[in-house]
Amino acid sequence: MTSIEEKFEESKRLGLQIVKESEEDRLMTLSVGPQHPGSGHFRFVIKVDGDYIVYCDPDPGYVHRGEEKMCEYRNVIQNIPHLERPVIHDSANITYSYSLAVEELVGIEVPRRGQFIRAIASELNRQVYTLYWLAIYGIFLGHSTMFMWPTGDREVIIDLLEALTGARVTHAFNIPGGVRNDMPEGFRDRCLSQIRYLQKRFKEYEDIFYNNPLFRQRTEGVAVLSKEDAIKLGVTGSVVRASSVPFDVRKAEPYDIYNEIDFKVQYMKTGDCFARSYVPLLDMQESCYIIEQLLDKMPASGEVRAKLQPNPKGPPGESYRRVESGRGALGYYIVSDGTPKPYRVKISVGSFRNMLALPYLLFGKRLADMPAVYWSLNYWPVEADR
């Protein structure tokens, strides 16, 4: 395996600088554009030599909303609805680390039952995101059944979240200080029965998709990301766990009540496309197991939200808290100057960090591998642009 430097120099030699006239004519520049059904609001320019990709330059920013600037104009509670917009179908996680960071700044103590409900909402939302990501991975490879099944089963979990939080997707449920409302009655056994139904469905996915030899041919051994390169590129989430680095924020830096939950960090050693597509499925099975534990260990009654004055403000200071979202470590760096409005909010998301692996992995691959490699990086364009 040539080391990472030669790979980048080689792609630079061919792509970035002015390549010798004869070679430049051979290359065809293709824009895998924002409207391309394969990328979704994200463009990367690739130079194709025959069927091989020689150069790839990601060009995000088509759905940049300026979330970080907007945060500076709103107080801590009003930030929640617009902060979950970057990835609405993982909204419990993206507001979770924001709430943790604000609680550390303002000094709020979340009651125990509130922490449990917050963890359940986060696990359910992780499954909703991963099922949606798996569905798109299926249609990327042309497997329409694999698009329809996860999208249908996702409806079962969204129904749970709708009962718990009141909204299907954009819940605005995690608030600095806990959760907005308690669990409705009958939620517990409804959740258990629907989670068991989902666990049965995972076996179907493996039969029709993962063990399908055509899928294996297309993904096994394709775009291998070795452990050193994964660490050097600083990728996160299922991408780093697929390259034999067992890093999961819930286990490395347990927040809230995750230190009382015992679960195994799922990781694989091969680091190829297949591993990057199989680790999320293992994660989903693991989070089903976690939800059952959470429901058992939950205190029967108690407050779910700490009492806050309308515009909570704390002493000036900084905090950086991170949470394991569907796409890896999702961290908030908040600087506060003593007023209820945060002075600076920096959102560090998994997609933005995984994007760096794209040009590295696509170099030298075939054009037909592009969707499999691109979507296996667990990349959500809207979240990367913030």
Binding site: Y73, R74, N75, I77, Q78, N79, I80, P81, H82, T145, G152, D153, E155, V156, D159, E162, A163, L164, T165, G166, A167, T170, A172, R180, N181, D182, M183, P184, G186, F187, S193, Q194, Y197, E204, D207, I208, N211, N212, P213, R216, E303, V304, R305, K307, L308, P310
Partner: protein, 165 residues
């Protein structure tokens, strides 16, 4: 997994689904049933009551025109404006009540959290489409009407798979 075995397993798994019941909810004929009758907030305990966050409902007899909901929505969607109401209430001297523009509202429910007088809750009604943008603005009188939404279907899981039964 030999390739032949893989194919046979995928054929078997695919054709097995020909007998499993369809999952689609046929919306106009059947509607989903929600838990409770809408999201409410109890200011004394400072915590919400689980419920679907649909169209708001305004209790005219409790609203004091304190504009707290409009202030809460300012930073989010500026969907709430206070308008004059012709009823005379002794607890609502200025006679102003919130008017919600559903073209802007994001249904986050933070206005319900901000209302200290149990006046503004949310209901199960989510069928709010209109032909023009002006029709999306619900006046306080429109907000006072109780919704006529009754859903009767929910996800039923049995051994033949999940359906909207």
């Amino acid at each position: 997994m030999t390739s032949a075995g893989g194919f046979i397993k995928s054929i078997e798994s695919g054709s097995k689904h020909l007998v499993i019941k369809r999952f689609t909810l046929r919306y106009p004929e059947k509607k989903l049933k929600f838990v409770g009758d809408g999201y409410q907030f109890d200011p004394k305990r400072g915590v919400g009551i689980a419920g679907y966050r649909g169209r708001h409902i305004l209790m005219h007899d409790k609203c004091t025109g304190c504009q707290l909901c409009a202030i809460a929505c300012e930073g989010i969607a500026e969907a709430i404006g206070m308008v004059k109401v012709d009823e005379q209430w002794k607890h609502n001297k200025k006679g102003i009540m919130p008017q919600i523009d559903y073209g802007k509202c994001v249904f986050c429910g933070l206005c319900v959290d901000a209302c200290p007088f149990y006046a503004l809750f949310m209901t199960n009604d989510y069928e709010l489409s209109a032909f023009t943008k002006e029709h999306l603005i619900y006046t306080p009188a429109q907000l006072a009407i109780k919704p006529k939404y009754q859903g009767d279907v929910e996800i039923v899981i049995d051994d033949r798979g999940a359906t909207h039964g």
